[in-house]
Symmetry: C2
Subunit: 106 residues, 2 copies
Amino acid sequence: MPHFADAGAASQFAPDKMRKNNLFTTERMFCDVYCFEPGQEQTPHSHAGSDKVYYVLEGAARIRIGEEERDAPAGTAALAPASVAHAIRNPGPARLRVLVVMAPKP
Amino acid sequence: MPHFADAGAASQFAPDKMRKNNLFTTERMFCDVYCFEPGQEQTPHSHAGSDKVYYVLEGAARIRIGEEERDAPAGTAALAPASVAHAIRNPGPARLRVLVVMAPKP
């Protein structure tokens, strides 16, 4: 496992759905860059026993955590605690890149 | 625990040493923004049983993971696996802000 990654270079998009680009994976966590074209989304879901942090790198997201949904411009961090439903989408018009850390790896 | 945080607004610096600004803390992880004035640093240390990810938000860092030391401009991610010595400093001249996630919380 390399110890350094260029998140920009790792940021690959896909035309059909949001793309997850892994930077690091350990027994205790993973760190990805999620890339969303305008209109792409991750639909509501939850993880028993794992917490997730989103950090909006570029663009602007709409993020839902439990019953709370917010506009999340670059620089916004969001926490999805274990078992709490969460979702993220890119309302556009720009591309969206989000750093994601989940612990532990589900 | 709030589910959303503005990392920019949380980015406080201190004149005497680097400052850690907590965004989220759970049983499984914490997420901070570390702020370094030019010349400030976190000296080499390690954590048994916890992995740490650094993500350079603004400025440029010099990061050491084990025996490997690199210049880390904004957009660089670095992984310090459990028990591996790591250090980070701001060589300047700009301010440095780094997103830090550690799992589990030590």
